[in-house]
């Protein structure tokens, strides 16, 4: 009498890195030779955890390793993790665009996946023709689409353009139409990847509302990948937290999100490497240290919106005669870029160099931020990009008076704003 609609049994997925050519042909022949003799695939035993920033020794990586969970009927499960944690690979397997290397998945009911909006849209066809085509690709029959056609068009708000080729649409209209088709699917299980990152705020609200509707009123099961913690908190009953291709934790939404956030933050104020052989980078540059140094009176105090922060960077330069500069990107936890700043380009000698980026107090809003560092040569081409190198949390520091809601905006600058 089980109520389980998705059962994922210990699946793993291996990918081969590098190009396909004579090298992969040699492996294929070797694999075939092992199989003929009735032995196991020799390349299955090797393969490393998917840690992208350190250069691996193996050509094979495990994008997923022994992932195992169950989802009950009518529940919404959120899937969180940093970029490269294996979330998308998992969704790809569940939506049947690729197969697992090991393990199996059992599913009850029809599955529709939204890994991208507007799959199969043809630019030359009109909005009307594309609704039918896209709907059918997503698994609807012609009759189903016909009965929902008017709803789809009005949800997207493109009545006027419905007989115009979609290549003439604005990008917003295009995305709205595409999402609208997907939102009117009626599968038992819906798989959604970060599609809510599109469209304006009003449309995003509409989409979240629609998803909530679908799960609570129509009793459908939803798997939802997002970096948007607010959306996850609002929508999901349980959350699956992934890291480097493995499941870290499955459980009630708030617990898992809190663990994820503390993991994300505490482990990573500082990345330092004494030995160049272990440091991230390549033969041109290596990052020795990148550290978030809050300018606080005591280390025990939290970083707040009123704290100034120095980001210190040390790196080894192995290039001669190049103009080098550092470029720093600051991202929110939803992977939206808050700002990008760069140092002036200097003709650096070989050896160790240091840079400091001073983020003033009263600039950032409260939230969790991550820093990506790029080393650029001749102001034009990147030598090395160290994504999500460090991260930190900025806390609220408001007087206990007045309003308590979340302060809106990416930044909270202290601008001169007078009333007379």
């Amino acid at each position: 009498m089980s109520n389980i609609v998705i059962e994922v049994n210990n699946i793993s997925k291996q990918y081969r890195l590098g190009q396909i050519g004579t090298g992969s042909l040699a492996h294929d022949i070797n694999r075939w030779w092992y199989r003929i003799r009735g032995k196991d695939d020799p390349y299955m035993k090797i393969g490393e955890e998917n840690e992208r920033i350190t250069k691996g020794n193996s050509e094979y990586v495990w994008a997923l390793q022994n992932v195992d969970f169950k989802v009950e009927h009518g529940k919404v499960m959120g899937i969180i993790g940093r970029n490269g944690a294996g979330k998308s690979t998992l969704l790809k397997i569940l939506s049947r665009t690729t197969a697992p290397t090991k393990g199996d998945v059992k599913i009850k009911g029809r599955v529709a996946s939204l890994l991208e909006v507007g799959t199969g849209f043809h630019p030359e066809l009109t909005g009307r023709e594309n609704i039918f085509l896209n709907g059918a690709i997503l698994g609807m029959t012609k009759n189903e689409i016909k009965t929902k056609f008017d709803d789809i068009v009005s949800f997207a708000g493109v009545e006027r353009y419905i007989d115009t080729p979609v290549k003439r649409y604005s990008s917003g209209m295009y995305v709205r139409l595409a999402f609208s088709v997907a939102a009117h699917l009626e599968p038992e299980i819906l798989i959604v990847d970060e599609v809510l990152a599109v469209g304006d705020a009003e449309f995003q609200k509409k989409c979240l509302g629609k998803m909530k509707d679908v799960s609570s009123n129509e009793g459908r099961t939803i798997l939802f990948v997002s970096h948007n913690m607010t959306a996850i908190k609002n929508l999901c009953d349980t959350v699956l937290y992934m890291r480097n291709g493995k499941v870290v934790e499955v459980g009630p939404t708030n617990n898992v999100i809190n663990n994820y956030l503390s993991h994300y933050v505490n482990s990573s104020l500082r990345q330092a490497f004494a030995d160049p052989a272990e440091a991230p980078g390549n033969e041109l540059v290596k990052i020795k240290r990148i550290e978030v140094c809050p300018q606080l009176e005591s280390e025990l105090n939290p970083i707040t919106v009123n704290t100034a922060i120095d980001v210190e960077i040390e790196f080894w330069n192995y290039l001669d005669g190049k103009q080098i500069n550092l470029s720093l990107h600051l991202y929110t936890i939803a992977q939206e870029c808050v700002f990008n700043v760069g140092t002036p380009a200097l003709n650096l000698s070989k050896g160790l160099h240091k840079g400091v980026c001073k983020i003033p107090a009263n600039l950032l809003n409260d939230g969790i931020y991550s820093v990506s560092l790029m080393v650029v040569a001749d102001k034009s081409y990147p030598l090395y990009n160290y994504e999500n190198a460090v991260s930190f949390e900025v806390q609220e520091n408001r007087d206990a008076s007045g309003w308590h809601g979340k302060w809106p905006g990416f930044v909270r600058p202290n601008l001169e704003f007078n009333l007379e």
Partner: protein, 289 residues
């Protein structure tokens, strides 16, 4: 109600995803469920091709007409190869129509995985839908060219070339199906083999061009009767189909039951083999394409 169904169907899973497909699980029922999608792809292929052209589908007529003219000049006037007593224009036109159909089926199904990778990577639907839709949309093109041929036959009838309609005409759809089957079967075999290593795909354009010369398109099979490389053309399973096609239309050609049987067996063989290989590959070709 829904819960009751779920409870009854305890451990009745609808979909089981495993590392490999079993070799003989073809799932044609699923393809049938997606038949609407198949028609929409046919429509897309057809409509999208002629958007923003003035002549539109007329382009289907211009290409075979020009090829016919070239053949009339090259093989008729310059090389002086006979046409089994069939009016040369009609002879070439019929050959070109059926050959074009085969070539289109073969080349467009053979790139199924590579050209549709962006869709296949995002959504699941039975992959066979695409090659099926290609074969169908090409039938429409063949229909247009066949209509053109009929118009020319009627035109020539006024000029004294008799047009004989016999019950053999009823076999034409069957011959077209044979042609489609071989093109489709070979096409999906090639598309499955080229997901990882593209070398074969490069060979294909060349092979299709050469293939036309070892098929009796620009000359009748009887022309080779005494030549020592005749076997090269008789071994080609397409030759009996082309000859039979002309026999049905004009009443002159070299047709044998044995030859046709050979073509039929060949078609069944490539279609079955093609679907088996395709089925094996479709599951995780995305990782290598």
């Amino acid at each position: 109600m829904k819960d009751a169904v779920l409870n009854n169907a305890q451990e009745q899973w609808d979909i089981i995803l495993e590392p490999k497909n079993s070799f003989f699980k073809l799932n044609l029922r699923e393809v049938w469920r997606y038949r609407d999608l198949m028609w929409l792809f046919v429509r897309r292929d057809f409509v999208a091709q002629y958007k923003q052209t003035i002549l539109g589908p007329v382009w289907h007529i211009i290409q075979p007409l020009l090829t016919t003219l070239i053949f009339l000049f090259l093989f008729g006037t310059v090389a002086k190869i006979g046409t089994d007593g069939i009016e040369p224009t009609l002879f070439y036109m019929s050959g070109i129509a059926i050959w074009n159909y085969f070539a289109a089926c073969l080349t467009s199904t053979s790139s199924t995985f590579v050209t549709n990778a962006s869709i296949f990577g995002k959504v699941y639907f039975p992959r066979l839908v695409i090659p099926f839709s290609v074969v169908i949309s090409n039938i429409i093109r063949f229909g247009i060219q066949f209509g053109l041929l009929l118009m020319f036959m009627i035109g020539f009838a006024f000029k004294g070339v008799p047009m004989v309609i016999t019950f053999y005409w009823l076999y034409i759809p069957l011959l077209v199906l044979l042609m489609a089957g071989i093109g489709f079967g070979l096409g999906i075999i090639i598309s499955s083999l080229t997901t990882k290593y593209r070398d074969m795909a490069l060979l294909l354009t060349f092979a299709v061009q050469l293939g036309m010369y070892i098929t009796p398109i620009a000359y009748p099979l009887s022309f080779l009767a005494t030549k020592k490389y005749e076997w090269l053309v008789t071994v080609n399973p397409l030759s009996p189909i082309v000859e039979a096609f002309r026999y049905c239309l004009f009443g002159h050609a070299t047709v044998s039951i044995g030859g046709l049987l050979y073509s039929i067996i060949f078609m069944i063989f490539v279609v079955v083999l093609g679907m088996l290989i395709f089925n094996k590959v479709e599951k995780d070709f995305m990782d290598t394409v």
